[in-house]
């Protein structure tokens, strides 16, 4: 099953990557090539095999740890400023700036 231009448009939208018409054509061809490679997986009989998410689960029982659901103490304004210093639009009063969403 080949990937069409419509599929590429849908995937690019989901991935939030703007593609020019030229990019889209290249992406379609590349994705079809890659799909040809990964199609091999379909031929494998995996009946009864549990999907492996954590690689060590082949060796031991692993449970992903969750931290306690507890609020951390309020940090300082200086720390907040340091965390927000990388914002490309600059931050104001602890807020990240984005284009208007609601008029």
């Amino acid at each position: 099953m080949a990937i069409t231009d419509q599929d590429v448009a849908r995937i690019a939208n989901l991935a939030r990557i703007a593609l020019t018409p030229e990019d889209s054509t290249r992406a379609r061809d590349e994705l079809n090539g890659i799909l040809g490679l990964i199609e091999q997986l379909q031929a494998v009989d995996t009946t009864g095999i549990e999907p492996m998410a954590h690689p060590l689960s082949a060796h031991q029982d692993v449970a992903l740890r969750l931290r306690d659901d507890a609020a951390a103490p309020t940090r300082t304004l200086e720390e907040r400023a340091a965390l927000m210093a990388n914002s490309p639009s600059g931050a104001e009063n602890g807020l990240f700036l984005v284009p208007t969403v609601i008029e």
């Binding site: 992406a27 590349e30 994705l31 490679l37 549990e50 690689p55 692993v62 965390l83």
Partner: protein
């Protein structure tokens, strides 16, 4: 030439530093000078004052006489480890001006051990690639031949060690990104068991595969970095507290190394008597270059002369590791890289119509072609309707691949050895027109990553090329056997001098 190159090992440099025959500041200054004069493009960012401040602090500890193990040792970090002070770019335009408010756990631990950082190392963008050609800041060059790639994604890390710019470096390995560049640059590298080194502060690519590991000239230097790097970290949800009954903490790997060494010493003239080396037939199929096959064959003969025994094994799903990896890694990447939206950090497009358009243009501009390609693949395989057919199917095959390794370790062998790469380093630009050609060359390293096993690469020869390029031997152990692997590699390096060969300095 940097002063540290006069010392054959971290231990020798440590002795000189402790005896105050040389100062950490002198070491750092001479290394920084070499970095500045270098044409390898191995470094993306240096800050001499930050480095010199760390060197002065190391000298103060050395003067007091209770300096930690790496005090004054010049290292450098792959630019996917976040660092306070130095910029962290992941070799991407997306993060060209990013400076982290905190240090990655690996960076912090090596700093606590006294190591002096020279700066940040070039790599493939977001660690996606195997030739360092996908860096937004230009390719790193192989010190053995400037026209050849250094491998990747940790290409800067391997080139910096091979080129004598740093004593040791950090790298990350998702599908071979420590082992492969180490092999192609003629240095040593180890990827430990998944979960033993913290991923906190390591910019995420494929979270169920990503694992940090050091690169250095030889196994003993790898041990010097890997032991303090390792350990449980509550800030990484997949970090392990326990490794087969031993606490995941510094000392674990060193103790295992010492114990293996004592065993080998006690065995007499054939120190590796009884060691069973599994050699997978699938690693020697068509596609393996004759010179690589020969170098690996010679290395196995050296191991036999040390007392080890070869056992033919089969890893029947080796070929399937390529499609399985290239579903799982892009799927996880597409999720991890969704955070780059041009709002909180990183690049933001200059012109756009609304918020959605801003995000889409930001990501189109900020990511290079390989990263965009993998995000699109990952998005596709995670789509409703395909998730089961691709992602879950790949994860089922991942378990089958891991089980194949376990069967071999249970019944047939103690370690597995083979090539790291099908050929020596290719020329820069060689595969430019075929984006998946590089992917196929990952065939010998991907299975180990999918299974989460420890694997390393050590130099074992040179290609037949008119300008010879290094070849690596891969050594894979069962879970948590890092110490033993390093001791086994060390025995090879006591018997050979491949790891002592150095490219002509230019």
């Amino acid at each position: 030439m940097p002063i540290h190159n006069e010392f054959d090992s971290i231990a020798a440099l440590r002795d000189a530093l402790r005896d105050r025959k040389v100062s950490a500041l002198e070491i750092a200054d001479s290394a920084l000078q070499a970095v500045q004069a270098s044409s390898l493009n191995a470094f993306l960012h240096i800050d001499p004052e930050l480095t010199r401040a760390q060197a002065r602090a190391a000298d103060a500890l050395l003067a007091q006489g209770d300096a930690p193990s790496l005090a004054g040792i010049p290292i450098a970090h792959k630019d996917v480890f976040v660092t306070r002070g130095w910029r962290t770019t992941a070799a991407s335009k997306m993060l060209a001006d990013y400076t982290s408010p905190f240090d990655a756990t690996v960076v912090q631990r090596l700093h606590q051990a006294g190591a002096v950082s020279l700066g940040k190392l070039n790599c493939d963008e977001f660690a996606m690639g195997s030739g360092n050609e996908n860096s937004a800041f230009g390719p790193t060059r192989n010190p053995w031949n400037r026209e050849a790639v250094p491998g990747g994604s940790s290409g800067g890390s391997a080139a910096a060690v091979a080129g004598g710019l740093a004593m040791a470096t950090t790298g990350t390995d998702t599908g071979g990104s420590v082992r492969q560049p180490a092999a192609l640059c003629g240095v040593s590298g180890i990827k430990p068991t998944y979960g033993t080194v913290s991923r906190f502060g390591m910019i995420a690519f494929g979270s169920s595969l990503d694992q940090a590991g050091p690169i250095a000239r030889h196994a003993r230097d790898l041990l010097e970095l890997l032991d303090p790097m390792s350990g449980f970290d509550e800030r990484d949800s997949t970090s392990l507290e326990d490794c087969d009954g031993v606490a995941n903490a510094p000392g674990r790997i060193r103790n295992a190394f010492d114990a293996a060494n004592a065993r080998f010493d006690a065995a007499g003239p054939r120190p590796l008597e009884g060691l069973r080396i599994g050699v997978p037939e699938e690693f020697f199929n068509e596609g393996l270059a004759a010179d690589v096959a020969q170098a690996v064959e010679n290395a196995l003969s050296v191991y036999e002369s040390l007392g080890a025994r070869r056992v033919a094994i089969s890893l029947p799903r080796t070929r399937l590791s390529i499609p399985a990896y290239y579903v799982i890694a892009p799927a996880e990447a597409s999720s991890n890289l969704s955070r780059y939206d041009g709002v909180r950090y990183g690049h933001r497009a200059q012109s756009y119509t609304d918020l959605a358009d801003m995000t889409s243009r930001t990501r189109a501009e900020g990511f290079g072609p390989e990263v965009r390609r993998r995000i699109l693949v990952g998005t596709y395989v995670l789509c409703h309707g395909y998730y089961d057919a691709y992602y879950l199917q790949a994860q089922r095959i991942r378990r089958m691949i891991a089980d194949d390794f376990q069967r071999a370790f249970a019944d047939q062998c103690d370690v597995i050895m083979g090539p790291v790469t099908p050929t020596a380093a290719k020329r820069i630009g060689e595969n430019r027109d075929d984006p998946t050609a590089d992917w196929l060359a990952d065939i010998y390293t991907l299975g180990v990553s999918l299974a989460g096993l420890p694997g390393m690469s050590i130099p074992c020869g040179f290609s037949a090329d008119p300008s010879p390029l290094p070849i690596g031997l891969q050594i894979v152990g069962n879970y948590f056997r890092e110490g033993e692997l390093l001791a086994i590699a060390d025995r090879f390096q006591q018997a050979t001098d491949w790891h002592q060969r150095k490219p002509e300095s230019k």
